[in-house]
Subunit: 426 residues, 2 copies
Amino acid sequence: MTASSIVFSSQGQRAKSPTIARLMTMALEKQGLLSLAAGFTDNRSLPLEEVEAAVKALAEGGDNREILQYGMNQGRPDLRKLLAERFLGMEPDAGLGLDLARNCLVTNGSQQALYLAVQVLCDAGDIVLVDRPSYFVFLEMLQGLGVRALSLPTLADGSVDVEGLERLLDQLEAAGERRRVKALYFVSYFSNPSSRSMSEAEKELIAHALRRRAMLVPVIEDAAYRDLYFEKPFPARSVLSLAAWEGFPRLYLATMTKSFATGLKIGYGFCTHEAWLARMLNIKGHQDFGSSNFGQAICQQVMANGGFERQLTKIRAIYLRKMQVLNRSLEQGGLRELGWSWSVPTGGLYLWLQAPAGLDTRLDSQFCQRCLEAGVIYVPGDLCHGDHAPHDRVRLSFGVLGEDALQEAGSRFVGVVRGMVSAPAN
Amino acid sequence: MTASSIVFSSQGQRAKSPTIARLMTMALEKQGLLSLAAGFTDNRSLPLEEVEAAVKALAEGGDNREILQYGMNQGRPDLRKLLAERFLGMEPDAGLGLDLARNCLVTNGSQQALYLAVQVLCDAGDIVLVDRPSYFVFLEMLQGLGVRALSLPTLADGSVDVEGLERLLDQLEAAGERRRVKALYFVSYFSNPSSRSMSEAEKELIAHALRRRAMLVPVIEDAAYRDLYFEKPFPARSVLSLAAWEGFPRLYLATMTKSFATGLKIGYGFCTHEAWLARMLNIKGHQDFGSSNFGQAICQQVMANGGFERQLTKIRAIYLRKMQVLNRSLEQGGLRELGWSWSVPTGGLYLWLQAPAGLDTRLDSQFCQRCLEAGVIYVPGDLCHGDHAPHDRVRLSFGVLGEDALQEAGSRFVGVVRGMVSAPAN
């Protein structure tokens, strides 16, 4: 008797094995490989003492047994209140007339919020406008749901090309596809993968272009890295505060995962549109009816006792240093002289490299293969594009490796580049 | 400027606000209400000390900082190994030739596993065969995904009516709907809502009926309450062991949520079908790329140090006592003499009542309204049916209330019944 074969649903058929899983498998198969691919956070500074103390305080601080009970589907009310207060500390005018705590949802990392947002907005065949480059797990998720990503056109400096955007919107109109555009998505602070941030003016230009065409589509601002500045916050408010975005349904997403402890998997968002929020919560009710109440209670505790901000202060300095180590390793190795270019970031976890034109850095490229052989791995930049993907970009993460390993990984990377120059790919 | 209205996706439109949310709102609006509705677990016995000790041991027991880092999408390998070993302790022959740890997935409660399973199997309009009665959150989730639930016919004793099932399958064939049947789902141990368990013979009869029609559809066995027996385990193996189910793709689901701490939200499953598992993991990669690694590490710790089994031993006795208190309150109040009937369960969290024929217990019924006024609430049994729902069933949970409150809630419930007899609903 052989096992029955299954006819999978259209969604079951569409969802492909995530590229990150393939990268991890490649990494596991190769001993001693240094990964500049994983967007993991710094292991050695993970706040284990802070979390242990929070659990101890919760366990011994009165009648807190409910933290091990089911919580609310939407998230712990007191955590949502703290998250709202913290946000209003950054943007006092956000959501004027809006109760941010009531409009907050807590999710299994901000990834789940992205998934829910797209689920309730998009049918297969619909379109989401995305930044260029964009967060590759989001792009893969769109593919999995059968949703098309269309990139916002950009200028040479990486900022949005407003004229190009207007042309794109006109083309959609002409093609009868305007109504298929269901959302706009961008990572606006120290972006994954580019580490670029969007100024208020740039955000406003996008809003104006859409408004001129009466396309007040839902906008998802992904601020996952906003807290991870090195020295000072990026001076731009979000779509929740900017007048240009009034009237657009808005979802602002952030997380305590990247900024505090990835292992807790607690993300959150604020949504200005009641029905959109309600429908996301309806589906969350089916997916899990609430994120880990215990994880949320720990987040709440460290928000309330200052542990969260202490951790941020600590890791900002660590990430600055680690960025500098990797950056120096590449510069001192002579990578710029070999025709590569990149901006030195002021926050985030990534260096976003431009290879000399013509060099193919994709997963199946000879360059990628040689990197693997040399014991270093990266995220190929083509994965970070919704369409018209260039083949010559590379994302390097300085998040997880220690300083010595970053130095070594950088050297290996430059070594492969040098080797390709002297013995080009066939 | 008013906010833009959103055209939601078909799925966004279908997913309704969960009934449990409505029940909770009703409860919140009424002070002093005693809820026999919530499937919550016993608050006072939640293992806070056990969890605190686990976190302390993890934090102080060597280089464990990775528990706060991202983990694997599929779940912590060592946790999966422990879960597989524990299962093989119960069913030594399960998955002969199958590496259970490799075929295990860890999810945000077993609810997420249910969602993933249905997502990859079913398109809107497809059919899932379900037990009768069945888990109402699963049924609502099917509705939200546009999937039709068809109940397995039952005999008067609640067991599956095999002749009825064969007729049902023939009708599906005749109606050209056979190919729309994408899965079979049942709760097999101390079921939610009925507290009934399925014998091996009963499970085998279902398998035979399907096999006779060459319908080797994927089967989901939900064993969420299997560990929650009062005095001894229910003596039936699962579909993973029974020869009658060979050749069927099988997903066995369980959880550490109900049995240990609901606040940790860690469920798990074993899947015999490689492609089914792979596709569930693909979608999980889009939804969250891994459940809380920290929550999993705690589960792993209490599995390894015996804390999990200690907690089970403790709560089994507690739930037995609580069941007895509620049961006695109903019996001594004279509910049986008033025409109500129910079985006294040997595990689980529920009493499943049959009202005298004709009494409407639905959410909008006068009976339900009077209960609310009397300060007691239950889950109307019609919600627990995939189709042809009876209007005269009631699910009472003895999970969360303390003994005094259970006694009082039972009295209030009987009081309402008595009141309806002397002053019938109009």
